[in-house]
Symmetry: C2
Amino acid sequence: MSDKKYVYFFGGNSTEGNASMRNLLGGKGSHLAEMANLSIPVPPGFTVTTEVCIEYYNNQQQYPNGVEEQIARQLANLEQEIGFLFGDEKQPLLLSVRSGARISMPGMMDTVLNLGLNDKTVEGLAKTVDERFAFDCYRRFINMFGDVVLGIEHKEFEKILDAKKEKLNITNDTELDAKALRDVAIQYKALYKEKTGADFPQDPHTQLQMAVNSVFDSWNNKRAITYRKINHIPDDWGTAVNVQCMVYGNMGENSGTGVAFTRNPATGERKFYGEYLMNAQGEDVVAGIRTPQSIETLKKEMPDIYGQLDGIKEQLEQHFKEMEDVEFTIQQNKLYMLQTRTGKRTAAAAVKIAVDMFNEGLINKEEALLKVDPEQLDQLLHPMIDPNEEVEAVAKGLPASPGAAVGKVVFTADQAEKEAKAGEKVILVRNETSPEDIGGMNAAQGILTVRGGMTSHAAVVARGMGKPCVAGCGAIRTNEDEGSFTVNGHTVHEGDRITLNGTTGEVILEPVKLITPDISGDMDIVLKWSDEVRKLKVRTNADTPKDSQVARDFGAQGIGLCRTEHMFFGEGRIPIVQEMILAETEEGRKEALKKLLPMQRGDFKEIFKVMKGYPVTIRLLDPPLHEFLPKYDELLEQHMELKNSGSSSKIKEIENLIKRVSYLHEFNPMMGHRGCRLGITYPEIYEMQVRAIFEAACELVKEGYTIVPEVMIPLVGHINEFKVTRDNAETTAQQVIKETGVKLDYLIGTMIELPRAAITADEIAQEAEFFSFGTNDLTQMTFGLSRDDAGKFLPYYVETGILKTDPFMAIDQNGVGELVKMGVEKGRSVKPNLKIGICGEHGGEPSSVIFCHNTGLDYVSCSPFRVPIARLAAAHAVLKKDE
Amino acid sequence: MSDKKYVYFFGGNSTEGNASMRNLLGGKGSHLAEMANLSIPVPPGFTVTTEVCIEYYNNQQQYPNGVEEQIARQLANLEQEIGFLFGDEKQPLLLSVRSGARISMPGMMDTVLNLGLNDKTVEGLAKTVDERFAFDCYRRFINMFGDVVLGIEHKEFEKILDAKKEKLNITNDTELDAKALRDVAIQYKALYKEKTGADFPQDPHTQLQMAVNSVFDSWNNKRAITYRKINHIPDDWGTAVNVQCMVYGNMGENSGTGVAFTRNPATGERKFYGEYLMNAQGEDVVAGIRTPQSIETLKKEMPDIYGQLDGIKEQLEQHFKEMEDVEFTIQQNKLYMLQTRTGKRTAAAAVKIAVDMFNEGLINKEEALLKVDPEQLDQLLHPMIDPNEEVEAVAKGLPASPGAAVGKVVFTADQAEKEAKAGEKVILVRNETSPEDIGGMNAAQGILTVRGGMTSHAAVVARGMGKPCVAGCGAIRTNEDEGSFTVNGHTVHEGDRITLNGTTGEVILEPVKLITPDISGDMDIVLKWSDEVRKLKVRTNADTPKDSQVARDFGAQGIGLCRTEHMFFGEGRIPIVQEMILAETEEGRKEALKKLLPMQRGDFKEIFKVMKGYPVTIRLLDPPLHEFLPKYDELLEQHMELKNSGSSSKIKEIENLIKRVSYLHEFNPMMGHRGCRLGITYPEIYEMQVRAIFEAACELVKEGYTIVPEVMIPLVGHINEFKVTRDNAETTAQQVIKETGVKLDYLIGTMIELPRAAITADEIAQEAEFFSFGTNDLTQMTFGLSRDDAGKFLPYYVETGILKTDPFMAIDQNGVGELVKMGVEKGRSVKPNLKIGICGEHGGEPSSVIFCHNTGLDYVSCSPFRVPIARLAAAHAVLKKDE
């Protein structure tokens, strides 16, 4: 038992760990050890392993046998290495104590500096170094220890410090002299006693034990538990504790402390980037009381130190093949490195760094690809708020469609279109949007809705259009009568200019400067590398020639989902569509459909042309018919108005409409008379659409194009539904081919979007020529979760960790994903080469793309603006699988 | 090849088949052979096997080698057996040709009699027997052959016959003399030529070949194909053809033909039951031109024949151990049996016959149980229309809840309650019902809705209440303003008396006499036998003490689903529930819940008392809150009215209500903010309910009752949802137990009603103490099918065979059933003894009960009125599994 190693030394020539021991030593500890191994100057110390933490919790908060002895032994080693003794009253060894889990975790105890000081050692330090310095350290230590270990609020200490400064009529901490700091330390101890009922601990070993325990205890504090739950970090990872010899940036004007990135984290430029403060300890840089200096200044002020630091920077990059984020301290002209870790960066920087490092020969293409987070790319594909602008959000909704937009508030789609025609930029604000609003949404710069989730109508359409959208912003109360909305105490009127940040979900009540980020050539390079690596094809969900063109420009290899209903909302068509719906006979419907036929044919021709050479999957009509009619409430109001005004001629018409709308009303339209159920009960609608597809295709084939249309039948739950609609489509297709005398290959397949379709995929695959997983609806049905209604509880679920992520954003692999797997396995068990794709919103979300790759899909299809993300994610899928 | 046997002889001592060869010889052929084996007088003949039919279709409508020869050889045998020759011009052998599949199938060719007659043989027959007889046979033959084999409409022949009778001024066919019949035969032949372009075939062998082909062809005619599709009869079963020597019931006054049942098919009484016609052929009995005589008369008229027939009856029952349905012919005082098959019977008869046959020692208990169709029992559990009444239905909806009801039409729940209080019997007619209508539904005799399917709110509630309901009767157009509805040209006003038949779905526009069938002691015997056999427990879905008592009387062994929300609609409660919903703060909600607590506690106490000794599963609140508020449209109207009337005091209240209703509005409430999602976002609601349950249980335990409450958490899709609500419930339960000082065992489990719950059942089983499959919702989600909206296409699906059955009636074993299996397997993989039940409507449907047994469930739970059905079906499950 006691021969298990629980404590690892680092520094000097006695380092026992290295970077590969991250799980055991934590991120900080393993990297300190690695730096020591590289002979980079690191203040020596030791790491108490994560295993101690785990056993501590498995054993009623008792250390396993031997830990205390090992700590004592390593502390002795440390004293020997440094030449000072811990608790020595003349030249005391002081320590920093820091937590260090595998990955950095907010909410855990962070840092206690200057540990080992007490009323006696502080006097020793005062004598051997400097009195002011010694008491500066002491008051810092009491503050940090009291705050971090005992939970006394930091602001209580600040009050004392501020009172002292006020009394002395000074503003900077550095102006406090030794006497003042000594007073402060005494008052701090009194505060400590007042708050804890105990004296400030004078025994350094007690201090150390309390600090170490406090790190372990913080592993299970509420914030840390919540964070782990949300981020699905196992509770049994545990944290390590790093105990390190103090170095002092506050030891006078030849001392200092700083943080730096080995490259510019905003732009990726290969240039040392950071800031520092002279005569300060770490927390001063963060606190922002004094303004830190740029690292450039250090080059002038301390060229030797800078040179040394620059050399270490190069060494770290060469070693870790990464852009690093470092902390350093200069103690009386001597440089120490306190931490190194992978640096966070913007998307632009990530792309540039990846390409640069490849060009520098530091990494290969695969490594370069893995340095760019696909999700992050999204930042580069939309206008965004100038990072230099200071903005204050008045409310936050869901980040439903990325990018930022500025415009005048309007409350109706009509108004949006009118203003846009007049050259105004507008933001369309709605409780929720419906297909009728599409014109207005298209005319607006951005869309803001009060209700609805990440895949509500507004969100889906906005993403498809590449328009910023903030959805489900529940803090807003619209008052359409008055043409205004209120939000957290503010009232915004029609015509007021606001800004939306669809990337963050923020709503800002003023116009803000936007920038269109420069998509450099590096992005293109990264995407081309992705294409070389990936196995999944990437298609797009596009319903218009314009969207199709955008998607092709972004590298889409075809259309995975062309929703024909969006075309029904095109200009001049809605009246014909309504005529079709209001006809109560088949003949009446056919009459109206005859008028729609050439329009749909035209649509398809244009899209086929743009997608020349690539497959186009066209989904037959999906939504319930009432979506194309006015809303019941609106009709009722109109009716009342007409009644009051006595105009009887239009009343009959409205009454008919009310009757029809009321007849078509559904309690749960998502599970209602839609998809192939329409195609079965009104076969003439699908017949028209299939005819339009094949007439378009045949005409283009005659013009020399190569077209392989893929007809997709939606909402199939039972093989017989597919058979009936497929047979009808087949008949029409053959008719057109015969009429035109053209030779044409085509496929007829189905969406797999109902659980039952996935469960019976083996039956369906016997007939269908391709599958496309409609994971939006599949998620809705599998969870029994209406995406339009989930706003009232789903955000809460994600916030509290009941769900790890919104299942409409990233595919729910345990549930919905199991059905996808089942569908693929059962489908391929019957047709081994069955072509299978995904056309839900998930097709553009990186973790879902990786899931699709691993599940053996042939392609993903996503919004045009997410095509680049999917291309990179698909490459990651290959590279991560090889890991 | 040619040594395969395709044709089997029966009759005399040369019978080659028997009853066990049903698949090869068809039902009719195998039973004719069996009778011959029993030395029962059967006209000899032969059966062409179903294999010939199958090979005929596999081989481009060509017979396999050897068939023609075998037919010829067997025909020769037949000639030898009879002593006449086929086609002989003096004493011709005549034949009947009939189809005979494994099971009787409407739409297939039925019968051609008197085959072998032509212009010459008819003259031989005229000479050897009688001219009138000969030409009667001939004209019948031409008619049947023309109709059945060539498709000439029967009424064309009738026209000729009628013209002849009119000309001769007679009314009965029997009055036509030989000359007249000879004329008719000539005219028939002319008609035949006119319609087919060919002469009536004179060659008897051609006639035979054409008739046999026609049987085979009819296997694939449209009606037969449709019938097979709907009834899922494999296409490759094929049909047999029976060629049999004619016997003549039309050979004078000592000849006749009849049909009979070996027991009374309406009552089950052990008494020969049937009717016959003298001097007639089979089709005359059916045609109804002459009134047949009761078999009792035969006993007097022809005692010898009757005695012989009665003996055969006994022999058949002893042999087949069944109530048989027979056809017979008397030819000149000689008795022939033409067919025997299992007799159809009413539910009452089935029960009586089963018990009687057991008492007679004919069958054992297991055989007796299998003689009663569980579904059929339903007839005996509800009032029904007197079978002696002649009723005409004006429209047909879905048979949503069985039984019949008569009452005055009312259009609102309020009106229903008012009239019922005044002692009136009413039928509540609604477009659809909602939970607010429950009082009115309870007050009504029956419910009629325009919209909604078999598991719409109206249907589910009505079945629970045991009240007749016709749902989704789309032919009805209500006009609430006028207080009337129209249906197929009739207008019905409020106060008019109508009749509903919930067993058939029929609506009758007049009051009809109803009877409450006598549930004899035999039923009880059958159910007790079932209890001895079955493994599944049978519980009930009941929300009130009254329903619980009904269910116990029907043999329920506990409550599988007690829906707490129905209690929220109890008298005086809705205002408090609304107060709770309208409160915008937790405190406000708690205030209202405090008032509900004693009411719910009282509900639970009563139910626990009734169910003393049996488990009670209580589901926490499930429906979305807006179901308890008035409808948006209604509020809007009220608002308009108030506005117009200028009454401003109530306007504010309505406006608040409108705001709240509008806020709570959901697009797809079925998949919205309901079930445990409510329990998670408003934990105080579940807390009140759990407290009510445990306070009730503890109080009763103190009074000496044994209570084991089972708390059921609805709509769990993710294990974390269960954990959160379970932990809260656990806390409250422990609190109450502590407060009361009572020792109490209890279970906390969950519904499995979302596909995701079934898919992740292994995770959920780690925490849940029982599962109950909510197959109503599971079916909705798996199919993506809203039960309230499916009325527009689901009936069409079932009609056209796209779906075999309404999946809300019988569990969809391939789809939903797969999820149930998955849930059971995954759940038990973690907890081998996990208690698992089903509480969807399917729990009372026989095929679903059998599925539940085979899937390893512990119990089914169903409406009180279906408990006896489930008991019997559960016994069938055991007996059929043993098969």
